[in-house]
Amino acid sequence: MRSNILKISVYILLTISVFIIAMPVITAFIFSTQTPAEIFSYPPKFTIGKALIENYKTAWNMYHLGRYILNTFFIAVAVTVGKIAISFLAATVLVCFDIPLKRFLFIFILLTLMMPTEIMIVALFDLVTKFGWSNSYFALIVPFLASATGTFLFRQHFLQISPAIVDAAKIEGAGPIQFAMKILFPMSTNVIAALTVIEFVYVWNQYLWPLVIIRENSKQMIQIGLRMMITGQDATNWGIVMAGAVISLLPALAVFLFLQRYLTKGLFLGSEK
């Protein structure tokens, strides 16, 4: 009896929490379908409005969100793939190679966890500007290709792999490159999936750096596109802005939902067999 009451209260609490968490986005969606008159009618309406298709169309075309999404998608894929490849290789060296100063190298890589882009934004701006990348995707991709997080996760994963696997590969005649590509890489699917979520979402949500470095609108990223929708001198049409918010939320959310079950698997390697 007591446990039943407990269970019901858990359900109630969960439902309320889930609702509160979803509330802002639901509201955003509802208003994204309304005309300005509907939005600023008093009292407000909580039903689907008359401008659903029109608002999304306007956000997509007139505010160029389509273009920004395409840019961001390209950049996110490039950074995610590059980062995974590069940190995978680095971790392979740190675990499976006999090289001097291994510990030093590991610490050298790990220390960069304390140096997020934002902290040196002034100097990084100068540097990337000197490279002449201010109008190119390079500025949004190259500085992010190496990753302490990625290297660290891969390293932890590799340390859990039975050493005999390396031995077996060697006996079977696999050289270091074959070993990395044919054995280690396919064995790391969980970490790769987890990193894909982490990095894709990270890039998708980029804000300060593209705001500062990118001058050419046609190269801009989606979140800044959203910002530009509300900083004009014009009267903002909030229905369109909310449509923009919904649009710029969906792709990251889709990737996350698709791969989220790997997130914990990849992050908590300790519980893996």
Binding site: A168, K170, E172
Partner: protein, 339 residues
Amino acid sequence: MAEAMITLKNVNKSFGKNKVLEKINFSIRKGTFTVILGASGSGKTTLLRLIAGLDFPTGGKIFINGKDVTQEEASKRNISMVFQSYALFPHMNVRENIVFGLKIRKVKKEEIEKKLSTVTKMLKIDNLLGRKPSELSGGQRQRVALARAIISERLICLMDEPLSNLDAKLRSSMRKELKSLQEKLNLTVIYVTHDQIEAMSMADEIILINNGKIEQHADPKTIYENPKTIYVAEFIGTPPMNIFNINLIKNSNIKLPENAEKAGVRPESISFERREIKIGDGEIVFCEYHGSETIYSVKVNETLINVKSIEGKHTIGEKISLYCNREQLLFFNREGRKL
């Protein structure tokens, strides 16, 4: 005398200050089944890894087929290996696991298929080819690991405690299978184990190592009957050989070798009936009934002596006298060497 397939000369290995192997010298003939036997931490696995080329000696030389391979990488040594954990690649199915090495060496497709079907039929795993290692039982994994080692058709196969993860029943049947496979394919096998029964039942030769040194290198019969040291005597046999102070039998009218400090006798060689030598009177403090035989622990003065007997009628507390024949006694000097 067949040619030496593998030869180690003065091989040393240390990790930092820690000496793991010291002055290892031996030769292994082609087509023999050699077991490297030793307690855990004795250095036997390190020795195998040196032969495999997974580790490299600190000193000395290793020859395979007459060629100095001391600094050669594993893949160049023309050997195959079976691991204790099987080391199957978890992301590949059985087929991919078995043919991995052949693919790396770019063997032709038709040839791979032919070999694969022969080997998997031989090991009765031809129905498992599509499965992932996680979907296999321990015994099946073992066979896949074996298949992977065999398919390369390399003459030397190294095995690192390959049966230790199987249950007892499966282990004994696999022993027979392994042995007959080795004979059929005329493989040179080096087999590392801590299990003396495996060693005795399969080996053509046993290399017993202790503390990084070879205690004895001989065939199983010699090792059993003629152990070179007390360590060997006590390592082999269940229960192991009884070793006691020579004083216990000093009053028997037999001539003892000079410098003899300790004497040893196998439990099955001790009798409750009068023989040439009386070991002493004692009291049964423990008995372990095995059906066809019974093992009695008899306390003689302060020494505990195991007796293996087909008689099961004695009970705990019974006073009893122990005897043996002269030729069944072995004598050891102060250093534990046999005289």
